[in-house]
Amino acid sequence: MLALDLLINGLIYGCFYALTAVGLAMIFGVLKVVNFAHGEFFMIGAYTYVLVSLKLGVSPWIALPGAAIAGALLGWVVERLLMRPLYAGYASWGFMKDEYAVVVTFGLSLLLINLVDKTVGPYSFRGPSLVDFGRFALGPVMLTGQKAIAALVAVALMVGLALFIRRSVWGLQIQAVAQNRLGASLAGIDATRTTSLIFVISGALAALSGALLAPLVNPSPDIGAFPAIKSFVIVVLGGMGSIWGAMIAALIIGVAEAFFSVYISYDYRDAFGLIVLVAVLLFRPQGLLGEKGREL
């Protein structure tokens, strides 16, 4: 029974990890840079959800899309003001692209953490639950209403994202830009607009993940560190830039952490993800779905 408990809880947390990590994977897939402020997109979503619902007295179901909008807006602003120099009209910066991205996104991360710390305060908040029922037993597994509903919403969002990428025109454009930015531009796709769209989606997904987890992880200004570190591991494990790889890797990490920490040692819980990563990279340096999975 303990094993089933661990499996379910591991899968649930894997879904949350996946929701956060796919945005990071999408940005890497298109721009080939790592967004070190990705965790702060999560934090902004969590805070928007908590503050809108608690301070304004709005229903959590309205605060949830509010968080997504805040994350999307932040993503759009970040792309427009900070990331666009990477590919639009700043040719001489091309050779320092990686350094630029690291410095800018890391700086943004520190700015957002301290901004929230100074404006909202250092105290953590537990977000309101999306549903009224508390804990309940599902067979041998004990869950809370919030955890169950948040997991369902996370799965629905990932299915929606998969359909969007595979079926919609915008999704096909994203795939094209990820495969060959110049080629896509020559074919008439507005690569700049597509990149902007990716940041909007990435920001919205990370913010939604933050909002869904807000009742479970009690957001504080530094809350973004935890999903960011997990997301980096997941993106590398799944294959840099692969959305599907990120989803699979997230579930593997969630389940591995749950089992290893009980059957080996809880002390090294966060190290297990890294051990899995090293083990996989030894045999598949490109990650689980690298190369082939590079097409989005």
């Binding site: 250092p122 105290y123 804990r135 037993a137 992880v217 009690n218 504080s220 200004p221 935890f226």
Partner: protein, 405 residues
């Protein structure tokens, strides 16, 4: 001629009379405080320490300051990182020329900072570093108005023995404070109540999901789960222990060793999980209050809207020790200040009169830190309305413990 000289002297004296307060203003006594003002350390604690210091400083300065000079506190943000704390203290002493340091509130940081204070021979007042190691180093510059792990662990071990429980599991955060407290509690139980089966699990304080540590307890719940953890991780453990139906329950008591309900953000983070929490605490309104403590409590309420808590008082007490040390020594010289603090009778906010000179965990420690044990019996319950299981100076009464049905 003589009249003219007298006039000149009178003018000079008058000018000096006007200039002296200005000089005092320009030449304040500098006291250094290294605390956490930004993550990853406990900004919550840092904020309370700063609040306590600022209130007392304003009260003292409004009365004319110390030795005719105003007090000025220089704050440095150590982010809860030992290396940054060490650098902050080095700067405060070497560059800013502070006469003393106070405000340390995280054991790992304190342990790094006292090395610098000891090397540069500047007094260091420990506000809230519980780890016994801070005392065991035996540095004459370090004074401890803070609670200490041996006190908390011996009290908790005694409480567990009194409760007559058989099996106890402790969750300890992976810090000098958490591990130190969990280990000590185990050692004291082994000495005083060997029949109690005890084990502790170390949890990463930066983690957000502790379910895997909690799940194995569902099949075989212990009689008591002890929390040697600080917020925000402690809140998450409480929530997840509750969500899994492990504690608080009719079988299992959740026993907090850090006075969690004292934190202003306690109820907004734990909600229903906080009900039935048994708590070892260092502040309760029923404890004896000095007039200055009452004044600080009123001012804190005015400034923050929150009720006073033990950390604000501890912070004020550590600054008060430096102030009284300067008044007793009639000097800000470090050697004289240390000597004065070692020998004077300290008229504190919480009953500290002097410091022990015994080596080990007692060294320059205020030993008789008052404490209580109370239970939260309703959601959002203010501390004043909690059920006192052990009133100040009284024995622990397990019959008063209320368990969920």
């Amino acid at each position: 001629m003589i009249v003219s000289r007298i006039r000149s002297l009178a003018t000079l004296a008058a000018a000096a009379g006007f200039a002296l307060p200005a000089l005092a203003q320009q030449n304040p006594i500098l006291i250094g405080v290294s605390l956490t003002q930004s993550p990853p350390g406990s900004v919550v604690q840092g904020t309370q320490v700063k609040d306590g210091m600022e209130i007392l400083k304003d009260i003292v300065n409004a009365k004319g300051g110390v030795l005719g000079r105003q007090i000025r506190i220089l704050y440095e943000d150590n982010q809860g990182i030992p290396e940054k704390g060490r650098a902050a203290v080095e700067k405060l002493i070497s560059s800013d020329k502070v006469v003393a340091l106070a405000g340390g509130h995280q054991s790992s940081v304190c342990l790094a900072e006292i090395e610098v204070a000891h090397r540069l021979k500047v007094p260091y007042v420990n506000t809230n570093c519980w780890s016994d190691d801070v005392r065991k180093r035996g540095y004459p510059e370090v004074f401890n108005t803070s609670p200490y792990n041996t006190l908390v662990s011996s009290s908790m071990a005694s409480t567990l023995a009194t409760m007559g429980v058989k099996r106890v599991v402790a969750f300890a955060e992976n810090t000098d404070y958490g591990i130190g407290q969990a280990k000590l509690t185990g050692e004291m139980l082994k000495q005083n109540a060997p029949q109690i089966e005890y084990k502790y699990e170390t949890l990463d304080r930066t983690s957000k999901d502790f379910t895997a540590a909690v799940l194995p307890l569902r099949a075989n719940p212990p009689d008591v789960i002890v929390l040697s953890m600080l917020p925000p991780a402690a809140y998450l453990v409480m929530n997840q222990v509750y969500e899994q139906g492990v504690a608080p329950s009719a079988k299992t008591i959740l026993y907090d060793g850090a006075g969690l309900a004292d934190y202003p953000d306690f109820w907004q983070n734990v909600k229903e999980s906080g009900k039935y929490l048994l708590s070892f605490a260092l502040y309760h309104p029923q404890m004896k209050q000095t007039p200055l403590a009452t004044q600080i409590a009123a001012e804190y309420k005015k400034r923050t809207g929150s009720d006073i808590n033990r950390l604000v008082l501890q912070a004020a007490d550590s600054l008060e020790l430096v102030i009284q040390g300067i008044e007793t020594a009639k000097s800000t010289d470090a050697d004289k200040l240390i000597k004065a603090m070692q020998t004077m009778k300290f008229d504190s906010l919480r009953g500290i009169s002097n410091f022990s000179t015994a080596p080990g965990h007692s060294y320059q420690q205020w030993l008789e830190v008052p404490y209580v044990n109370y239970e939260l019996t309703a959601e959002k319950q203010p501390i004043a309305q909690t059920v006192l299981i052990q009133a100040p100076g009284q024995k622990f009464d397990p019959a008063k413990i209320v368990r969920p049905k």
